[in-house]
């Protein structure tokens, strides 16, 4: 039997890799994918919790996460397209309108 810890550690590892990607990459599409990676990491832990606790709520949550991820991907990618159209770049550090 695989202990819950293993799953959770795997989830944490994937999450951290996603985060690392998000924090370091300039390319906004890859940042976006890192985000999806983090979501998946969370999904892993949710499903594993659900399994070990014999409860369906984890699955329900995963279901919603996937829904939201789909919505988010659609909107986010639309924004990326618009941005690229205006800025001619996919590098986030060149989009610094928020600079104070």
């Amino acid at each position: 039997m695989v202990p819950l810890h293993w799953y959770l550690t795997l989830s944490a590892a994937v999450f951290m890799i996603g985060m690392f990607g998000f924090l370091t990459r300039r390319n906004i599409i890859i940042m976006f994918m890192s985000l999806e990676l983090m979501l998946n990491a969370v999904n892993i832990s949710l499903v594993s919790f659900s399994h070990y606790l014999q409860d369906m709520r984890g699955h329900i949550l995963v279901f919603f996460v996937i829904t939201v991820a789909a919505a988010e991907a659609a909107i986010g990618l639309a924004i990326i397209i618009t941005l690229f159209r205006n800025k001619q770049t996919a590098h986030v550090d060149e989009m610094n309108e928020m600079k104070g």
């Binding site: 039997m1 695989v2 819950l4 810890h5 293993w6 959770l8 550690t9 795997l10 944490a12 590892a13 994937v14 951290m16 890799i17 996603g18 985060m19 690392f20 990607g21 924090l23 370091t24 990459r25 300039r26 390319n27 599409i29 890859i30 994918m33 999806e36 990676l37 998946n40 999904n43 892993i44 499903v47 594993s48 659900s50 070990y52 606790l53 014999q54 409860d55 369906m56 699955h59 329900i60 995963v62 279901f63 919603f64 996937i66 829904t67 939201v68 991820a69 789909a70 919505a71 988010e72 991907a73 659609a74 909107i75 990618l77 639309a78 990326i80 397209i81 690229f84 159209r85 590098h91």
Partner: protein, 170 residues
């Protein structure tokens, strides 16, 4: 033992693929690695008796979302960008941050105490089938969030169209 070996394989591949996803220069390659990654995650779900989730992982994530990514990558001509510097600021800082956070989180796992188990044992799910059990819950207890999720999708559809559409006037 076999289970553990399988888990080891999946875990190893998932981490490796994740690293590949975040480190590739070309986003197209990343998407491809991610596709493979999602299939592995779906496999992991099967271990956990979540067939339906595994299915939508493949259908929605791999089939829909990733394709969307692929379209965007292809839509945007990123040839020039790929040649340029790929990271922002100092990646070691981010690396240490993530490493420390990983250690912290895993350390926190040691304090985990299992709570009482619920009514959905493996047998119950297998009797009822996973999709049916999930569906029952979704359409009864979680009907309201479910409806909201559908609304979110609708908004996303409209939003995506509005955002991505070229301005007619200009």
């Amino acid at each position: 033992m076999l289970q553990q070996l399988f888990f080891g394989y999946y875990a190893f591949i998932i981490i490796g693929l994740s690293l590949l996803v975040v480190t590739r220069k070309n986003p197209g390659h990343s998407v491809m690695w991610m596709l493979l990654l999602f299939f592995h995650i779906a496999g992991l779900y099967l271990f956990l008796n979540a067939e339906f989730i595994a299915a939508i992982q493949v259908i929605v994530y791999a089939g829909a979302i990733l394709v969307l990514f692929l379209f965007v990558v292809l839509l945007l001509n990123l040839r020039e960008e790929i040649a340029l510097r790929q990271t922002v600021g100092s990646w070691p800082v981010a690396f240490f941050m993530c490493a420390i956070l990983f250690v912290a989180v895993t350390a926190a796992l040691g304090a985990y105490v299992q709570g009482p188990v619920g009514g959905y044992s493996i047998d119950v799910i297998q009797n009822e089938t996973h999709a049916k059990a999930l569906g029952k819950l979704l359409y009864t207890e979680y009907l309201f969030p479910f409806e909201i999720a559908s609304l979110i999708l609708l908004v996303a559809v409209v939003g995506a169209v509005v955002l991505a559409k070229r301005k007619l006037r200009s």
